[in-house]
Amino acid sequence: MAPEVTESVVAVDPASERALLGSAGDFLAPLEKAPPADARNAGAVGRYLEGLFTSGISMDQLKEGPDFLGVKLKYWAPLMTQYQQAKRNGQLTSNSQAVPLIVRSGTSLDVKYNVKIEEIDEAGKVVKDVGTVSKSLGKDYLPFVSKDPFVLSWPGSTDHSSLLGASGNFNPGLYTPAKWSTDFAGAPKYTDGGTASNGAVDKTAVPGEWVTVNRLPDKASSGAPVDQTQRDPVDERSYRDNLSTGQQQAAQPLPMVYGTFDPTAVEAASGDVNKLPLGGYDPTPFTLVKDAAGKDVPAAELKPSLSATGLASQSAGAITDYYGLAAARGYKQNAAVIDAVRVRAKAPGSWKDAQPEVEKLAAEIRDMGLDATVVAGSAREDTSILVPGYSKDGAGKESALGTVQQSWVRQNAAEAVTGALSGTNITLLFLTLCGAALLTGASTVSYIRKRRSEAGTLRAMGWTQRRIRSWVLEEFGVGAVLLAVAGIVLSLLSWSVATALVCAAVLVLYCAAALFAARQLRHRDEIDQEPQHDERLIPVDSPLTFANRQLSTNKFNTLSLAVAVGVFGAAVGGLIALLIDIPRAAGASALSGLAAASVTLPSILLALAGVAVGLVLTLVTGRFELNAKRQYLGILQAMGWNPDMLRQVRLFENALVGTVAVPLGVLGALGIGLLLAPYAAIWAAVAGLVAVICWIPIATKVVQ
């Protein structure tokens, strides 16, 4: 009299599945010993077991389970009970098949049911109404079997197992095996909505009929009326359609339980494979995130339905092989019932190397007339699903559940992922080149400033301008040769046209900087000017106004530093956008660890290179007047400015530079984020802002 719980059935190839799960798949070992497809006639199996009992079998053997083709059938009781019931009811036909099963121990359903206890005499007449006890299905629940006939116990009770009669009696007593059904349901039906910022398409579940579950039949198999107080029927909304069944619907299949499996151990061993859309032992959970009014609610996972057609389904209750599934769905041959197979392809090398091999395998499967979808390298996205018509009140008024989220795997995404990441790499490469160009420019300015007085000294000693230019170009020439050699080596190692082009571009930049520097180090006539002090300038009367004056006096240096800090902030924002995008881009599959590393590592390295370029740029531009800055800080100290005031000068200078750099960094980070990962652009902008703000105290600490 257990509640009617719908369990899903998963079919696997036992040998392949054991290879997939490793030692956690050892529970499938008995299934490998199941009889061949043409030796599973239910009638023949039942008669074989009847023969054992009539010929005499010891209690120990009964406890262990009678031997059946090398497997101890420990859970023989429900098979015999159903066999006898089916025979009695005329449901057993010559085509009925025994289905070998490995069943799940325990259930995730929180279901309570009532059990009425009555004392009976030898004749089976009720002599005393003991009472009614409520029980829950829990971890000891086995959907197709009971470990023992129910032993009821409650505080102060005594063992009433004798109520069941003699243990060798095949009468059902208080336990009834689960009812078999060939109502196999497909995936829930959805209609598509708009596209969310993470690329996932919003869905709306399509409600179907209402299904009443947990209801007892009006009459028992004996024809006697059934006490309906044992259960509380509930109406559940259906969101799935029933799949087609075969021709042999009248051929009642019989469960033949070969063993059990611990779902926790299987989940731990299979990892994310457990929730793949092509088949796993546990369905991907639905998490309620908004109520029917659209307001956010604390995330709560939906409990599975009692029916097979609800939105949140029960986990796999039983595992059989392909022939068993065919028999359960009324087919003669297994090919008609296999919706999908899960093929694990192992190929050496990175994902880039493995992808052609995987595609080749997929093509071979397609040649067999089957569909094949490559999951490895796909993207996982949280998809929002609106669930209407989920419940109804006593008056029959329906109300929606709200919005749930479920993790979906975007099929056929390998190509898109590769393309997206290639685009990301190209973008990052271009941005890094821009940063390198800025860095070259800043270094050149620094070089010119340092060498100007040297050039003047040489000129005073009689060097011509041509000789001075040669001297400068010779210095740059050494660097150019080193750059060229490094570029050739990198290009040969990577064997990539892109690398060669980048190295060539950097060399061209460097040579242009050399020519510019040589041109700048020439004599220039200085014209004596009238006083430049502008009365409109803010008077210097505090560390802040002093800092402001210093920055406005050297506008080029100030702006260069602000741009450099802005570039640094933008680079940090780009890195953050990329890191946020990695889980989406790399996907979550059996290859996720390896695939993520091989696919995204170049992108991460490029982004880090961009951050490094930004950092070096701030250091180079910051050094434009580092010595001058230290000199005037020393002068102020000599004049009696105390350490706190000197620190204020440094802080205000950097804060003013940072103020100019903030919009540059935030807008730059936002732009890079929109290029790399639009839905992470805001986070990129925040990261850019934080990077610029953090630069202020760090730079203040550096210059002392």
Binding site: V540, D541, R549, T553, M639, G640, N642
Partner: protein
């Protein structure tokens, strides 16, 4: 290799001052303390850190008691430690050993903030070459020491008078890049006097100057002593040495 220093002292009587146009000498305050600066047994060593570099002893056992209104010259060849003595006396660096006293108070007992505050009130430091802040006019440079006390506006007229005193009344709005070496030096001296300094510490004030400019600087310095300001100057200028009240020659 150590560099032992023999310190010789001599007092010069009389002076052969170079005449100079001056304003009223009441602009600067008179000294309050009889010995505003005292240095006892000062030793200065550099180096001797990691890598086995041997320490170089620049100054050993230097003593000085500077009286109000006295000009003391520290002379010696380049590298003999003149600047080091001045920076120690001004509290900008610490000696390896020995003690410095400002108006009887030892610098050892003071924290950085207190040293800065006392330096501002007591010491006017003039670096070699003037050491002005680019981007600020001569007048603004002179007013810089008044910023920590928030007295910029109160001392503006005084700054103008000081620039007049040093002969730069018409160059107040000029920036350091537009001033000659001597002019920058004079601006630095004016800056050192803005807060009523009692001790002027001047490093090589006449280096790289022509004779006329050098004499002008010397005249300004000598003028300040008549107002009770003590002057500690490092120089190898013969005229400055001649006009000093006391002399230390570093060998």
């Amino acid at each position: 290799m150590t560099n032992p220093t023999n310190v010789q002292r001599s007092r010069r009587s009389g002076s052969n001052e170079v005449p100079l146009q001056t304003r009223a000498s009441t602009i600067v305050k008179s000294a309050d303390h009889a010995t505003p600066l005292e240095m006892r047994d000062i030793t200065i060593r550099y180096g001797g850190g990691k890598g086995g570099a041997e320490a170089v002893s620049v100054v050993e056992g230097f003593d000085l008691t500077l009286h109000a209104g006295e000009m003391h010259c520290v002379a010696g060849r380049s590298g003999s430690g003149k600047t080091s003595i001045l920076t120690v006396g001004a509290g900008l660096t610490l000696p390896t050993s020995g003690r410095v006293f400002w108006e009887g108070d030892s610098l050892e007992s003071m924290g950085d903030d207190e040293i800065a505050d006392r330096r501002r009130a007591l010491i006017g430091y003039v670096d070699q070459g003037g050491a002005l802040i680019d981007g600020m006019s001569a007048l603004e440079n002179v007013l810089l020491p008044a910023v920590p006390d928030g007295e910029v506006e109160q001392r503006r007229d005084m700054a103008k008078d000081l620039l007049d005193l040093v002969g730069l009344g018409r160059r107040m709005r000029h920036r350091p890049a537009q001033l000659s070496g001597g002019e920058r030096q004079r601006v630095a001296i004016a800056r050192a006097l803005i807060l009523g300094t009692r001790v002027l510490v001047v490093d090589e004030p006449t280096a790289s100057l022509d004779r006329a400019s050098a004499n002008r600087i010397i005249s300004i310095l000598k003028d300040t002593t008549s107002d009770g300001i003590a002057v500690l100057v490092a120089s190898h200028d013969h005229e400055l040495v001649r006009l000093s009240d006391t002399l230390t020659e570093l060998i």
